[in-house]
Amino acid sequence: MLGWNGPERTHDRPRRLDHSDRGAPSVMRVRVLIRPKAGILDPQGEAVERALPALGFDGVTNVQVGRLVELDIEDPWQLESICERLLANPLVEDYEIVSMEAAGKR
């Protein structure tokens, strides 16, 4: 299963709320990719795969259709619980944190 073990360990602890005098807390921009679990029929993926040859695109296989959720989060340690409890249904979907970076100014 494509779980997630916390933010990339470049430090002993992940970046938490930044209470320094620099002002705003550090917020992370995160992308979560959610896909059907391997072995579970993905009719959307199959439909896309079957449509491609009609457009002249040959040799495309193993198409899967999932969804991408983007969010800004103050405490990345909450991500796993967020994914397991709401963003994905772990019975039928895998999720993967595909990117995490400091959120830009709004």
Binding site: L41, P43, Q44, L87, N89, L91, V92
Partner: protein, 225 residues
């Protein structure tokens, strides 16, 4: 007895469920944002597109205030029926095992289906005979039941696979032709077809759906078939 029928934003079969329930007992609508069951003896989570089915069908509805009450009610042994979107909500709330996925045929399908009763001893089918066929409409695009093989084996042993699509009727690709399942305790039941749409001969030509509501009445009132 009194049924409580939950009404979410996006419910569309709530009034038919209310009508069906009123044919066997009292019934009242329960607004999703409230927490009071208003004295209901059993709960119906109706069909529709609660909260627009955003994210996944049932994923948001399970966190509604009324659902928190219903989860406690079910955990205390209260009887809860989930129909179509209600079945999806109950799976998302982990009151029922498994999940509902997009139909294998990728199409919204609306048709009458023949179901077989595999367990007539349960709280929701005791007005039925074993192997009896029920003719009930189904209409959904997200009704392919799935559970992993280990879960299915345990469910089968425990009699939790209550309704099955008759041969040739499984249009959505559900595993083992499963149409309706209960929890292990037997007090929560969900199915994709719509018993509330099969309660009047004039509309649809079948009253088989009434048997589900009648079974619930018998269960709550302690009547044995």
């Amino acid at each position: 007895m009194k049924f409580g029928v939950i009404q979410f934003p996006g419910s569309c079969d709530d009034l038919d469920a209310l009508n069906a329930a009123k044919r066997v007992g009292d019934a009242e609508l329960l607004w999703h944002g409230e927490r009071d069951l208003k004295g209901a003896d059993a709960i119906v989570v109706p069909g529709g597109f609660s909260y627009g089915d955003y994210l996944r069908a049932g994923a948001i509805a399970r966190f509604a205030p009324m659902m928190e009450t219903v989860i406690d009610f079910a955990n205390d042994g209260g009887h809860v029926l989930g129909i179509c979107n209600g079945f999806q909500v109950l799976c998302e709330a982990h009151l029922l095992p498994g999940a509902l996925l997009g139909n294998a045929n990728r199409r919204f399908t609306s048709r009458q289906v023949e179901l077989e009763v595999l367990n007539s001893g349960g709280s929701f089918t005791r007005a039925c005979a074993l192997d009896e066929r029920l003719s009930i409409p189904a209409k959904h695009s997200w009704g392919r039941y799935y559970a992993d093989p280990q879960t299915l084996a345990a469910m089968d042993n425990a009699g939790q696979i209550v309704l099955r699509y008759a041969p040739g009727e499984n249009f959505n690709g559900s595993v083992h032709d499963i149409a309706g399942v209960s929890n292990e305790r037997g007090n929560v039941f969900g199915l994709m077809p719509h018993p509330e749409h099969a309660v009047d001969e004039l509309i649809g030509g079948s009253t088989d759906g009434l048997k589900i509501f009648e079974s619930m009445r018998m269960t709550v009132e302690g009547v044995h078939a």
